[in-house]
Amino acid sequence: MNWIRTIRPTVFAALFFLIACSAETGYPSKDITVVIPFNSGGAFDAYVRALVPGLEKHLPNSINVLPKNLPGAGGRRGASDIFRARADGYTIGIFNMPGVLIPQLQNMPIGYELSEVTWLATLGYDTYVFVVKGDSPLGSIEDLKGLGRSVTYGATGPGSTSYVATNIVNETLGIPFEIITGYKGSAGYLLGLIRGDFDAAMINYSTARSYLESGDIKALAVFGADSNDPNIADAEDLGAPELGQLRVMRMMGGPPGLPDDIKTMLERALLAAMDDADFKSWLASTGNEAHPASAAETTATVLEMTEFYDRFKQLLD
């Protein structure tokens, strides 16, 4: 066993060197968890999972980035989990805005305060389309006003983003309306619209897209983007430019008080991952879109959204 004695100092030196190295290189020295406050299989989930390989590539030290689904309480469980995590950069997550903002404005018992979240980047947003059934005689918002009765809409539960958006649009435009609540997700009330349960709906574009193309439904207006189609009005055309703020946003954030160097490193990695060729080809193949925005822009957008929805506070529930 002489050879063991001979190499022992070398082994010790090597170990010592390794320990010294890992101490010096700093963040990130272990795996990073990305919390997804929804079940696996949803749009938010797919987006994060597609982004993860790029994120691993653009972060130093070849650590793993692990998506973790924490569904529950309409996304509030996951959000409070991110908020309560240790501010060391090893737990970040995706936020559904205004989904998690509305309960905060309603003063519901939630475990987070969005103005304190360390915002890292925006991944993208979804616009709202104001749709009716494809063969509906209604061709414009004016037609709806001239119906002589309340227009019926479908939405998920009270306080959900679709419910709040429907409230805000109709109150602002002065359309008398009723909302049939309780549909499961946007696909649920989209089906209700095609079946003829109600007159119209406010639906996110990514869900509506293929049905718009097939002619099952048609768009009367779009919010959150400018319209190039003369038959489809946008917020400006309707004389209510503030409705342009109606969007569903996917934002990445971490717990409050994340150190600046870690924040910058994560922000850069996120933006670089969104620019990665693999991610872009995923976007193209699935019909998704990315609208990257920096940490500073994201923080500003959160403030704007909070102010916007605060103005409509009485319509939230």
């Binding site: 049939i180 089906l191 349960d197």
Partner: protein, 501 residues
């Protein structure tokens, strides 16, 4: 159908076949462990498919979905702890058979009934694919309400032996189903301020508690092994079980139709499909009272429904992106990850992939059965293991499974609490079936009713507004009056004999 042949060829290529086989193995293991199930298996598979070819991903997903039922039913029969929710109905007659030492017969019946049901479902799916949209559009809020009422009625009358206890159990189930956030009016009910209960009583932990935990508590208290008498355990019953399935081909067809139809209705799903298949078979039998004591038909019916339901559940998933079951919700994620957007264009744009999935589903049900039969000898030996050893192992594995679903400690607590309730129900002879069905359907019924009232502006006429709803109303009335037929016959016979004497 050249596309179908092409899809079969591509699935049967060695590379793809390997993925189907891997899926089958994963499905069996996840199926056997109570708590874990298709949903968890697919959720774990989802990130792995990211780098896979679409066909490989679908082959593996199909392999998992087709094999889950077999695995779930094995634990239902041997342990009275259904490995997955839809297998819960198989406990009712499967476990009594295991107690009599005839576990192998029961597994044989499963191994033959489930691929037959799967095959029936797939053929139906192929036939109705072109009109999938129209079928899905037949069901709106009024129809959902009526389907839920039909389900509750069917189960209520099938527990006629102790109607009052059945009603009590059903009532408790309804109460449990109303816990949590009310998605129609937005209120939060019966949560006692707990965030955990916001989403309601989760089904899988509740089922694990009600069946698996309850049974293990009973076994620990009463002692002994599952099989009452070691001497009676027969390991060669597989073939007689399989022959029984062929002999009861009518039961297979009835179960398969029930499974395909009910599987296609979102929010109602597989568990209800298997229970209704069980209840209708029991009702149609000349000797309904003998069900629950180990009738082989009581296994064949739910098992054929169990595999047929997947094909049904694919309809709303593919046509509208509305998952017919929890498993389908995750499967939807796999589709979307691979750029297959459910909706009007999916059948045109992705025909080969859909056919590939269908072939994989069929193949996997057959493969799972072959594996199940191969291991039946060792599996049946579980019924000889002493309760002191079996119970802690099953309880520990089930609770880990329950925790793994959502990483929520609350789920574990719930499974334990419901486990005690389940044991008390066993002890005092309350049927658990009405509780399960009411727990699942309570929300669908309530939501359907409230939405119908909003759509119909308070007019009850909305429930006879469409052909579908009229058919459902007639079905409900028929099954209600059906339960009085034996009673009337007895009365009539009594009065005739009274007159002649």
């Amino acid at each position: 159908m050249p596309e179908l042949l092409q899809a079969t060829a591509s699935i049967l290529s060695p590379g793809t076949l390997l993925f189907v086989f891997a899926g089958v193995l994963v499905g069996l293991v996840f199926g056997v462990i109570p708590g874990l199930g298709g949903t968890t298996a697919l959720a774990l598979l989802l990130p792995l498919t990211y780098g896979m070819e679409v066909m490989h991903a679908l082959a593996m997903a199909g392999g998992i979905m087709g094999a889950i039922a077999m695995g779930g039913s094995i634990s239902a029969i041997l342990l009275n702890a259904p490995g997955t929710a839809p297998s819960a109905a198989t406990c009712l007659d499967g476990h009594p058979l295991a107690k009599q030492g005839r576990a192998a017969d029961a597994i044989g019946a499963v191994a033959s009934a489930s691929p037959l049901g799967g095959l029936f479902g797939v053929i139906t799916l192929l036939l109705v694919l072109p009109i999938a949209r129209d079928i899905v559009l037949l069901f709106g809020p009024p129809e959902f309400f009526l389907v839920a009422v039909f389900g509750i009625v069917t189960v209520a009358i099938s527990s006629s032996a102790n109607l009052l206890r059945g009603l009590v159990a059903g009532g408790v189930g309804l109460m449990l189903s109303f816990v949590g956030y009310d998605t129609v009016h937005g209120g939060v009910r019966y949560t006692f301020g707990s965030d955990y209960l916001w989403d309601g009583i989760p089904l899988i932990p509740a089922l694990v508690g009600l069946f698996g935990m309850a049974e293990m508590i009973r076994l620990s208290i009463e002692g002994g092994a599952v099989a009452a008498d070691a001497g009676t355990v027969r390991l060669d019953g597989v073939w007689s079980g399989m022959r029984a399935t062929l002999r009861h081909w009518k039961v297979v067809i009835r179960g398969s139709i029930t499974g395909t139809l009910i599987g296609a209705i979102p929010g109602v799903g597989g568990t209800v499909a298997t229970f209704i298949a069980y209840s209708t078979t029991k009702k149609a039998d000349p000797d309904p009272e003998s069900f629950g004591t180990g009738r082989i038909e009581g296994i064949i019916a739910p098992e054929s429904a169990n595999n047929a339901k997947d094909s049904g559940a694919l309809l709303p998933t593919l046509a509208f992106g509305i998952p017919g079951s929890a498993e389908m919700a995750v499967f939807l994620g796999i589709l979307m990850l691979h750029g297959m957007q459910p909706g009007p264009a999916i059948f045109a744009d992705h025909e080969p992939e859909i056919y590939g999935l269908i072939v994989a589903l069929t193949l996997s049900a057959v493969l799972a059965s072959i594996i199940g039969i191969t291991f039946v000898r060792w599996l049946a030996a579980i019924t000889l293991v002493k309760g002191q050893i079996l119970a802690p192992v099953v309880i520990a594995v089930s609770l880990v499974g329950v925790y793994a679903i959502n990483l929520t400690p609350g789920d574990v607590v719930l499974a334990a609490v419901i486990g005690v309730l389940g044991y008390l129900m066993l002890r005092f002879d309350y049927p658990r079936l009405p509780l399960v069905i009411a727990l699942i359907l309570g929300e669908t019924a309530e939501r359907g009713f409230q939405q119908s009232m909003m759509i119909g502006q308070g007019n009850l006429g909305i429930f006879v507004h469409s052909v579908t709803s009229i058919v459902l109303v007639v079905l409900i009335l028929l099954s209600l009056s059906w339960s009085f037929v034996p009673l009337l016959r007895r009365r009539l016979a009594a009065s005739i004999s009274g007159e002649t004497s």
